[in-house]
């Protein structure tokens, strides 16, 4: 347990230090959300209708942004070798790295989403819905991304491969995340079903992600 806690604290500390990726995600999120209204023009009704979708899309891309470095950095400096040699099971170590990534990338997005919702003319109910669905859905994005991050370590220079591998797998999360947040605005009765499926996708990815990523890392040994 001490080993895993140490790993969690180290990854969080690395992310918030100079050169870490913690603020990159939020910054990218801000850029996308700030640019979209300019592209769409001054139609406030359109903006508030597609606002949740834009927030979700921006969150998806922001999560993928720093993901390829999750294991690659540890691979390059030899830390991954030592993590493999640790007494902590690799699956748990991988999961802990995923948690650290979510805390420093996904969680800030959830916190920032209501503020950025203002840019998109969302009302209070829509803010809350988007923030709630992001809270439930962004862990799935990170943990699905773990698989791609681990695979791109095995394949040298796999950085560009990561979005290609991971994006198709995240599409269900995107669909049900947006569906749930739009349902909350248009028809609160229909919120439950897509939100439950979103939560189920997250729970599945919390299990499948670490196991697949650990298997990919072991296969990539050389």
């Amino acid at each position: 347990m001490m080993a895993l806690r140490a790993l969690l604290m180290r990854d969080i500390r690395l992310a918030v230090r100079v050169g870490g990726g913690a603020l990159m995600g939020v910054l990218f999120f801000l850029i996308v959300v700030a640019v979209v209204p300019f592209a769409l023009g001054p139609d406030l009704r359109l903006l508030s209708r597609i606002g949740p979708a834009i927030l979700w899309l921006a969150a998806l891309l922001a999560t993928l942004l720093g993901l390829d470095r999750l294991f690659a950095m540890d691979h390059e400096d030899g830390s991954l070798d030592l993590i493999l040699m640790g007494q902590a099971p690799l699956e748990l170590a991988v999961a802990v790295k995923g948690v650290a990534h979510w805390v420093t990338t996904g969680l800030p997005l959830v916190v920032a989403a209501p503020v950025f919702g203002l840019f998109l003319n969302l009302d209070a109910q829509a803010f809350a819905a988007v923030a709630l669905t992001l809270l439930a859905g962004t862990p799935a994005l990170t943990f699905i991304g773990l698989i791609g991050a681990a695979l791109s370590v095995a394949l040298e220079r796999g950085g560009l491969l990561l979005p290609v591998l991971v994006l198709p797998l995240t599409i269900p999360v995107l669909i049900f995340g947006v569906a749930a947040s739009q349902a909350a605005v248009a028809d609160p009765e229909a919120f439950g079903t897509p939100f439950s499926i979103l939560a189920a996708l997250t729970l599945i990815s919390l299990v499948v992600g670490p196991f697949s990523a650990a298997a990919a890392l072991r296969l990539g040994l050389d």
Partner: protein
């Protein structure tokens, strides 16, 4: 404690690097791996560390304090230092101590004293020179006790003082019944060590002033 390796073979891509490597070491013994570049010294150490799969052969560690694969009983000091430039020297060391060890090792600050880095404890590791990074990696081995040390050119980039400290640390480890496997091109000051020669038996790369070659695969 006894480390026994039988019939180990390694292949990288299409090329067979070595085969039929066998040796046995008891607690307190060291083995030097000698051989030209590309002979498979690093590969052998990575196989021992569980980081590379052998084509054939067995590795067994008997009588260690913990059960479990040898990877969890061994320290691996490779060419990469596993240090994060944005963490301070002592933060790097404290992390690896907590991650790798659970037994009663030396306190991180004490280990930094041993390798001569105590004045730099709060400096970000990114500012360290190659030799200082090496010393910091060495401190990791002292902090988290593990019975088998796998050292890949441990004296690389170390100055004379650093090499003396390395030799002292290695002797202390052997003195407590530990096992050391070291790939090296330079004498490490382990007078009584066994020698395993990999690759071509070229007398030109025997160690200057080192032990005589006594054992071949």
């Amino acid at each position: 404690m006894r480390l026994k390796v039988t019939g180990l073979a390694c292949r990288r891509g299409q090329k067979a690097i070595f085969s039929g490597i066998s040796f046995a070491l008891s607690g307190g013994e060291a083995l030097l791996l000698l051989g030209p570049n590309g002979a498979g010294k690093s590969s052998l150490l990575r196989i021992m560390a569980g980081l590379l799969r052998p084509v054939a052969g067995q590795i067994a560690l008997e009588g260690a304090d913990h059960d479990g694969p040898i990877a969890e009983q061994a320290h691996y000091l490779g060419h990469q230092d596993a240090l994060k430039p944005s963490l301070s020297v002592v933060e790097n060391l404290r992390f690896w101590t907590q991650f790798l060890g659970e037994g009663p090792g030396r306190a991180p600050l004490e280990a930094l004293e041993t390798v001569g880095l105590i004045e730099l404890a709060d400096l970000p590791a990114g500012y360290l020179s190659a030799g200082q990074r090496r010393r910091l990696s060495l401190a990791r081995l002292v902090c988290a006790p593990r019975p088998v040390w796998l050292l890949d050119e441990p004296s690389a980039a170390l100055d004379v003082n650093g090499q003396q400290r390395l030799s002292r640390v290695m002797h202390a480890h052997l003195g407590t019944g530990g096992i050391i496997l070291a790939a090296t091109h330079a004498p490490l000051g382990l007078g009584q060590a066994q020698v395993l020669r990999l690759g071509s038996a070229d007398p030109a790369d025997s160690l200057p002033g080192g032990p005589a070659v006594a054992h071949a695969p």
